[in-house]
């Protein structure tokens, strides 16, 4: 009796909003206790955090619509969230939003091999799609490094890329249709049955990559591809990073579009060799290229020969072709561990995601190097070199006063360099809250206003994922201040 009484006193009770959400989805599908909410304070970008008001797990489209309508009535803003692997804070509450979690909408609804499409719910995990169709010889092309955890709904929100998008394109090139709950609760279907070019403005293209600010995707029709007949993977070690960069340009200029063309520099190699899947890369090289060619088997050897020739003419130290699938898989596991591996050589790291015209690679790398010296922070470089998508990883220790702040500044300067050479501040991670201040590097106020005007059409009261993507006056200073106290 006494114990029960005590428990009752200390137990936090659902507030009115949480109670109303329970009416829709059931008591067991709403989190409202502080200890339960803590893991929803941020996504894969951990430098900024905010507490959600509640987390609601929806199971179907109607739930999403009902929840959205109820929250609109209450005036409580909301954020759609998948696996929370996003790297720019797109699913991070700024404070007090309700998180609509889509992880329990995770079914593969329909498979139509003849028309090469699959219909999935947003919480369906990226890699599971490929796994579930691989026995029939098909796969889903977009392959972000987090593909064994991230959801396809999240991929749509962020227009995710991956190592193989050089040849096969990013998420937007593979989305055929969407069912969407609009911020007014209305359910719409665009790209009906995945049929291309349907009359009207291309809302599929607009919504993909809108970072969950225009609508909540509840069903996705994706294009699936047949496995390539042949595939070969090359690893090339270079003593000079400029040679490696030149090799990248020469391969592309030679008329070859590899499926993937990845680069890692010395510090990044140090990281991945200390992590779970060491390959035994030499530690004294300046960079390596991981190059994959796929397609009709008969055409691959000629391309591999061309690639080997290019590498040799750019003073490659050693170049080898993967001898079997096991070796190829190891090379890729080593590469895909890239970000996580930084934990092995640094207490904390910050990853950036700038894009540059690939011909400017040597110049940009030199400038990133200068930034590293200026801030006295090591910067590892892992990048999708083929499409000019850089991932400078800024290594720091949050426990050393001022380092987090310096890391953030160094990251921002790296993005400025990308902008200066005619590139972009993000190639696949999105703007979120992390890079909203840097939007100014590439867009004028007028250009951003043209975009927010479109947001207004879908999300007029800014109830859905407010405060993301676009800088708000005054927020810059706030963020910088938060950065000082951020723990990573």
């Amino acid at each position: 009796m006494n114990r029960m009484f005590r428990k009752k006193q200390t137990k936090q009770r659902p507030d009115a909003a949480a109670q109303l959400l329970m009416d829709i989805v059931g008591e067991e599908n709403v989190l409202y206790l502080k200890e339960d909410l803590i893991s929803y304070e941020c996504d894969g970008y951990t430098m900024e955090r905010g507490m959600p008001r509640a987390v609601v797990f929806v199971r179907n489209t109607q739930h999403v619509s009902d929840v959205v309508k109820r929250l609109n009535e209450l005036g409580v803003p909301y954020i759609a969230r998948g696996a929370g692997t996003g790297l720019s804070g797109g699913a991070t509450p700024l404070g007090g939003e309700v998180i609509i979690s889509l992880v329990r909408m995770k079914r593969l609804l329909h498979l139509d091999l003849e028309n090469r499409k699959a219909v999935v719910e947003p919480g369906y995990i990226n890699l599971k799609l490929t796994q579930s169709i691989s026995d029939k010889g098909y796969y889903y092309a977009p392959d972000p490094s987090s593909q064994n955890a991230c959801t396809i709904g999240g991929n749509v929100a962020e227009n995710s890329g991956g190592a193989h998008c050089l040849k096969y394109g990013v998420t937007t090139n593979h989305i055929l249709g969407l069912e969407v709950v609009l911020p007014n609760g209305e359910i719409i279907e665009i790209g009906k049955e995945g049929i291309p070019d349907q009359p009207g403005y291309d809302l599929l293209g607009l919504l993909t990559g809108s970072e969950g600010t225009l609508g909540i995707v509840t069903q996705i029709t994706v294009n699936i591809l047949k496995n390539p007949e042949g595939k070969k993977t090359v690893l090339a070690y270079f003593d000079d990073i400029d040679d490696a960069s030149q090799a990248v340009s020469d391969i592309i200029a030679g008329g070859i579009i590899p499926a993937a063309l990845e680069m890692m520099d010395e510090i990044a190699i140090e990281g991945v060799e200390s992590a779970a899947y060491p390959v035994g890369h030499p530690r004294d090289i300046a960079a390596f290229l991981l190059i994959e060619v796929d397609g009709i088997a008969a055409g691959i050897d000629a391309q591999i020969d061309d690639i080997l020739t290019v590498c040799k003419s750019n003073h490659v130290r050693k170049v080898k072709v993967a001898k079997d699938e096991a070796e190829r898989s190891l090379w890729w596991a080593n590469r895909k561990m890239g970000f996580g591996a930084m934990g092995a050589i640094s207490p904390d790291y910050l990853v950036q995601d700038g894009v540059i015209p690939r011909t400017r690679l040597p110049e940009v790398l030199a400038r990133i190097n200068a930034i590293s010296r200026k801030y006295e922070l090591r910067i590892a470089n892992i990048f999708h070199a083929g499409d000019g998508n850089l991932h400078p990883l800024i290594l720091f220790d949050a426990n050393i006063p001022g380092e987090s702040e310096r890391a953030a500044k160094a990251g921002s300067e790296c993005l400025q360099v990308c902008a200066d050479v005619g590139g972009s501040i993000t190639g696949e991670h999105g703007v979120g809250i992390e890079k909203s201040a840097e939007m100014h590097f590439i867009f004028s106020d007028e250009e951003m206003a043209a975009q927010t005007a479109i947001r207004h059409v879908f999300n007029p009261h800014d109830m859905l994922n407010p405060g993301k993507l676009f800088p708000e006056p005054g927020r810059c200073a706030e963020v910088k201040q938060d950065m000082k106290t951020a723990s990573v």
């Binding site: 003849e114 028309n115 090469r116 962020e158 890329g161 394109g169 937007t172 090139n173 609009l182 719409i188 665009i190 995945g194 049929i195 291309p196 070019d197 349907q198 009359p199 009207g200 403005y201 291309d202 809302l203 599929l204 293209g205 607009l206 993909t208 047949k226 496995n227 390539p228 592309i252 008329g255 579009i257 397609g295 009709i296 088997a297 055409g299 000629a302 894009v355 540059i356 015209p357 999708h384 499409d387 000019g388 590139g423 972009s424 993000t426 190639g427 703007v431 890079k435 939007m439 590439i442 007028e446 250009e447 951003m448 043209a450 975009q451 005007a453 479109i454 207004h456 059409v457 993507l469």
Partner: protein, 483 residues
Amino acid sequence: MITPAIESVVPREQIKQNNETHHPLGNSGMHIIEACSEEDISNVLAYANDHDKTVNVISGGTKQGYGGTMKQADILLSLAGYKGIVEHSVGDLTLTVRPGTTLKEISDQLAEKGQCIALDPSWPELATIGGIVAANDSGAKRLLYGSARDLVIGTRIVYPDGRVIRMGGKVVKNVAGYDMNKLFIGAMGTLGVMSEITLKLRPLPKYEALSLLHFPEGDEKKIHDVAKRMLDSMMEPVSLEVLTPSTAEKLTGKKLHTLAIAFEDQENAVRVQEKWVTEHLPAGARQTVLFEDEARKWWGQFRQLGPNGYNDSVHSLGLNGYKGGMYDTDPNASTENLSLNDSNNTTDDLYPDGYNNESTAASIQATVKIGSQPSDVLGILQKAEQLAVVHHISIDAHGGAGHGISRVYVYGRADDVIAYMKALRSEAENRHGYAVGTHLPFNLRKIFDVWGDKPAYFALLEGIKQTNDPKKILNRHRFVGGI
């Protein structure tokens, strides 16, 4: 009758009065203004917006018969002279180009560096990149290479109030902000005028070949089987285009259902795939293989099927045996009020009296674009042939068994053509697809809604239009639901 105001924004020699007041395809303008720069475009639009003038946009003119229920706007803004490559970054495989450049001009220049834009719409020597992107035009090879939405990475857009807004960028991968480019691709110029377009390029294929498979009458089902088998194989066809017999006859000399399978790759890879096709050839089907120049020449002819904005009378008179048949334009339509000063001009000509019995007797040509499941393409083409007989019209038709877009070129009396298009639309809709009239004489566009029914989410489309072009000055009534 040009006002001093407009003369102050564009030099007088760039403005001329349009003497062809009744273009049979509509989408014209009382005054033609040639844009020679982005600034010209901006100035003209800002002028029009300030003075409540409507503006139609044109460059190559190949899509003048595509959508639109306004015979002429106050201004016809021509981008035909605003052409040229701004930047070709060979090592980055990117190109920035002005809208008035024809696809052929671009292709010729890129070919010198061994590159291309992987788009193969009709009439490349006439169609400009601005029009191709604005109309989201595509060809048979989209099966492997995708369409404009997969290739356009950046645009500069002149908004109706004259603002110049950059969308996307010049890098091949970019998720900063909304993917605004997409809004303008296929928007028929209703949201802004593209003054610069940046595209991803591809290396020219090292080698190419084309297999033409001819199927005897009654064996059409085998086309489906071959296409299905090919798509389920690891072969990488660039096209799987089904041609109806009359179309095949023009292009191959054989009046048989034909499947055009293209391969573009390393020579070895192409030959292996050709061999695969030969080995999987169904009984009764015959195969013709064209290599390199021969294949390119064939595609060149393929891309000259159908109307191009200039050949309506040629086709209706000659190619298909129809007599007579220039357009009946409306002789009573107003020819006065040419002054741009007169803001009460009723150019918004939604219900003129141009459609009458006389005009329905004339022979015309039209084009229908059908979108469907790829697996429905053969069935739709067969139905298109059957309906052609029923409606006493003749057609050319082809469709992508791998990508789901079919094109039907229709020749016949106006009333028959309209009845046919309606029947074809119901057939497409029965299969959950759609049919859009991508070419139709102006008068007929008022009795056949070329876009079909509004989508359920039409309010969003209207909202977007309202946001970008609140006064609706640009290409008014050109798009879905009268946008």
